[in-house]
Amino acid sequence: MAWQCEWQFYLFMREARLSSLLIKNGRVIDPKTRFDRIADILIEGNKIQKIERNIKIENAKIIDANGMIISPGFIDLHCHLRDPGRPDEETIESGSKAAVAGGFTTICCMPNTEPPIDNEGIVNYIIKEAERVNLCRIFPIATITKKREGKEIAEFGELVNAGVKGFSDDGNTVSDARILRYAMEYSKIFEMPIFEHSIDECLSKGGVMNEGEVSTRLGLAGSPAIAEEVIVARDLMLSRYTGAKLHLCHISTKGSVDLIRQAKKEEIDVTCEICPHYFFFNDTVLEAYNTNYKVNPPLRSEIDRIAIIEGLRDGTIDCISTDHAPHTQAEKELEFASAPFGMTGLETALAMVIMQLINIEKFSWLEILDKFTIKPAQILKEKLGVIKEGAIADLVIINPNIKWRLNADIIKSKSKNTPFLNKELTGRAEYVIVNGELKYQAGS
């Protein structure tokens, strides 16, 4: 009997050894603990076992991360996977591939699907499909209101039990302030945030780009900054009144940044996100009527772009999300006014951050990775987004200097509606590890 026990223990250990992964000589950056130094990371099973210099171990798969940055895996609070409903644009499978290729180990998918994510059945479908695909973690966000109609609040309790991490009618504001008030109050049972898409649909009606000098010259109908700001102001007041957690999605204007900065001083329970295109572009890029720059909220003026960067610097802005919004080529080939809003973002977010915020604006890696990892993890209340011994091994290994071209054939998303198509980018995810397993390697 004794030898049998020993033999089984040996087999178990061999198994464990073979499943261990050793990442050598990378610059390990963990925003939560403000750790930033060269070290090896040993992963065993799904956990980070050890972080030290010169770890020596036999039988481990080794990744050489010399010259690279090792960060907690990115967490995207806001993307559109179009599943169920529009498999021609994206699916959970293609969206997951795009996510890991962009360095994301966790993504939250918005509920404006067809049908919308407003009941347990659809949540179960998404979670099962994500498990089948088995690339990254996917947390569904459910609708605030049934059928996303803005009329009656959805069954939050059932949805939370099924696994959603927040509520949003994204694509539309909850126009009726009374309904939003009820939703905010009700959300307090579950201590989950309301993700608001803040744009007044009366003020923005017909608008296809930012209202300002450029829309005046181009003759395109403008959506004014105040369409966003009046709703941001309303939502902040509702959050203060109800005490509910508010997460403002994809804010884009200086006025919104100012309002949120002030709200945080007043200790309103608010967080917010911006998307890379709002610090990378201003509305002058629309001069060529390229529909890949048509997004909602629209690309704003240079003053707004600078204010977003300031908001990132002083911490007013908590997270960087992608608002990955895939659309088919046929949809985007329409005239500017008729084409749908949205650009893809999962596969370009990291490069946009490196090119604009790190290389030009001289942000530190700690500042940036904070907004991709621990901040969104805290909003989701998940024990993710950290690198420490014992933590879940969700990691991205970044090559910050590599120049590469976003050719159509390497895009993992089913859609190619990005202004970076065929353009050169700097920096990319080289290896992505989710739950201890290597899920992506660049060039694969």
Binding site: G212, E213, S215, T216, R217, G219, A330, E333, E335, A337
Partner: protein, 307 residues
């Protein structure tokens, strides 16, 4: 002048470019007055007029211009509903390319649509009005008309009255007149003035009676009745009272000043019938110049040279 392949807008043209169009157009006025007003300049060339938005006047003006240059003209009108059935503007472009036309004159309800054609066609593309963006041929004929009355654009004071927000005519005129050095002002209810228009170096006024006496040219724009329905002004009657070119109001204008209108007019709304037919009105002169300007544009973009 070595013109670009296409004429998509006045924005970006130099004063030299604009004056070359106007000078060429003046030469064609002479052709138009001949007993047989046709020259063989574009014989063998095919011009397609492609109108995705109803317009009789501009399409006729282009057709006549092309025929006077001996080009073959094919006119095509599509309603926006048939376009929405799935043929994208890019598909349209590919079809045109396959049919080997030399030039395309396009009117489209969507701003920027002519640019999509221009970027995908070897044929030259002339914008005959794209949504609320530009209407370069109209602005050129307007500037031609102003020059005929005032000689040049230095110290010329031009006032545009009406729905600036939705007006491609206003935009193209503002770009062109500012480039040529004229002073441009606009007068309209604030709801019909686009944001930041003053950044295009125009003066903005709301009260027409106070300023109408200061201008050499007063251009009234057509007011679309659906704008009232969307709440931009309270009623047609009030619009006429505040901004209409009425007989009483034009008495305040300078002695040698002129009244222009891109047409078609809403008689009794933005302009009274008596005013449209008065000696100050140069509306029919604009229409005549329209043909000459369009001959010049087709001629230049088809590669013609004047001796």
């Amino acid at each position: 002048m070595n013109p670009k392949k296409d004429l998509l807008g006045i924005e970006g043209l130099s004063s030299k470019d604009i004056l070359y169009y106007l000078d060429t157009a003046e030469k064609f006025i002479e052709v138009m007055e001949r007993p047989i007003p046709i020259i063989p300049a574009l014989r063998g060339k095919t011009i397609l007029t492609l109108f995705f938005e109803p317009s009789t006047r501009t399409q006729i003006s282009f057709s006549i211009a092309a025929k006077r240059l001996s080009a073959d003209v094919v006119n095509f009108s599509a309603t926006s509903s048939s376009v929405k059935k799935g043929e994208t503007i890019l598909d349209t472009a590919k079809n045109i390319e396959a049919m080997k036309v030399d030039g395309v004159v396009v009117r489209h309800f969507a701003p920027g649509a002519p640019k999509i054609l221009a970027d995908n066609l070897n044929a030259f593309v002339i914008n005959a009005g794209d949504g609320t963006h530009e209407h370069p041929t109209q602005a050129l004929l307007d500037m031609m008309t102003m020059r005929q009355y005032f000689g040049n654009f230095k110290n010329l004071n031009v006032l545009i009255v009406g729905d600036i927000l939705h007006s491609r005519v206003a935009r193209s005129n503002i770009f062109g007149l500012r480039t040529l050095g004229a002073n441009v002002a606009i007068c309209a209810p604030p709801t019909l003035i686009p944001l930041d228009i003053e950044k295009l170096n125009v003066e903005v006024f709301y009260n027409l009676d106070q300023i109408i006496g200061d201008f050499d040219v007063v251009m009234a724009l057509r007011i679309q009745l659906e704008r009232q329905e969307s709440g931009l002004f309270p009623s047609v009657r009030e619009y006429r009272n505040l901004y209409g070119l009425t007989q009483d109001r034009i008495k305040k204008m300078k002695p040698d000043s002129i009244i222009m209108h891109p047409g078609p007019t809403n008689r009794g709304v933005e302009i009274d019938p008596e005013v449209a037919d008065s000696p100050k009105s140069v509306i029919l002169k604009q229409v005549k110049n329209g043909v000459a300007v369009r001959m010049a544009i087709l001629f230049i973009h088809a590669g013609g040279k004047i001796e």
